[in-house]
Amino acid sequence: MASPTDEQLVHASQGGDMAAFEELVARHRDKMFARAFRIVRQQDEAMDLSQEAWIKGWQRIAQFEGESSFATWMTRITINLCLDHLRRNQRYRVDPLPDYQDDNTGLDRLLPPVWTNPTERLERHELRQRIDAALAKLSDAHRTVLVLHEFEDLGYKEIAQTVGISIGTVMSRLFYARRRLAILLAGIQDEEKPS
């Protein structure tokens, strides 16, 4: 017997079936946790926030009308909770932009090209770890914009609305975050480039 689809589980949850909702949680819990972790970068906080998101999801399940997938809907709840959390804890500060305003030269320095061999699983795994470690070094404000754009695939306008900043600020934070991340990852180029 085929397992029920998300839509069927959502429908059952809307009728008060908590077992159906538990199944939805089991299916998507890692995704929601990963999304929370990418933004807050703390294991315990990400755990708490993702669970809080599921509680809100249950409370609002009747309002879900299926305009997007259930996972997308839950992602939005999770992200909003994480952003509220950062604001509450005054972690939403922006680093100054050192040497950025006058940096009109050296495109290699601006965004160092990164060579990678995607066929090598180990290398890819390590690359992911390096990207993860580099993301952790960005400020919350820059990382949030980058994460929302690259991993959640939100456009500039959506990011601006979600975070509560102007589109111009989205553009400059995104550019700075990419540049900073590229600089942090630059070591990979030297290590992995074929000799």
Partner: protein, 171 residues
């Protein structure tokens, strides 16, 4: 290349520019090697990050993770169903372990009021009635129990004391 142009090229790579502006940047990248290099660099970098998104998963078991969510849901539902009572009021019945006290106190109040109001020879006339302490005149006397509220009213012209007893929601 100034910052504004760099960000425009980025927006072009991200597909965020309107058609007319996108055309302008596309033309620029054909004639300006620096603009083209930046655009290619941004494209490559974006693919690199998107294709290698870090993965994170929960260490906790399914049961443990779900149990905290279930608790949270039930806690929220309880809080919605009955708002938490004020300290020191509704905690009394729970301390004694029964609801009988919730009825005993208002019943005692009614009985006391009835005793004084209906005692032979004790019904005061308008002339003889002693003024009641201000606390009983047209004043809500709260029961120490959150579930029950009593309202006591004394009319000096009718020489009558009236006590309403009801649930807190009525008042």
């Amino acid at each position: 290349m100034n910052r504004e142009l760099q960000e425009k090229i980025q927006a072009w790579v991200d597909g965020e520019l309107k058609a007319s502006e996108a055309h302008r940047i596309a033309t620029l990248t054909q004639s300006d090697p620096a603009a083209l290099a930046l655009a290619e660099n941004l494209r490559g970098f974006r693919s690199l990050v998107r294709d290698n998104a870090p993965e994170h998963s929960i260490d906790a078991s399914r049961d443990f993770y779900w149990s905290r969510i279930r608790e949270g849901i039930h806690r929220a539902e309880r809080a919605t169903a009955s708002p938490p009572p004020e300290k020191g009021h509704a905690s009394i019945p729970s301390r004694v372990g029964g609801h009988w006290l919730a009825w005993l106190v208002p019943s005692a109040l009614v009985a006391t009021a009835a005793f004084f109001a209906l005692r032979p020879g004790s019904v005061p006339t308008a002339e003889t009635a002693d003024p009641l302490p201000p606390v009983l005149v047209d004043h809500v006397v709260e029961s120490p129990l959150a579930e029950v509220t009593t309202l006591t009213f004394y009319s000096s012209s009718d020489a009558m004391t009236v006590v309403w007893v009801g649930s807190a929601e009525v008042f």
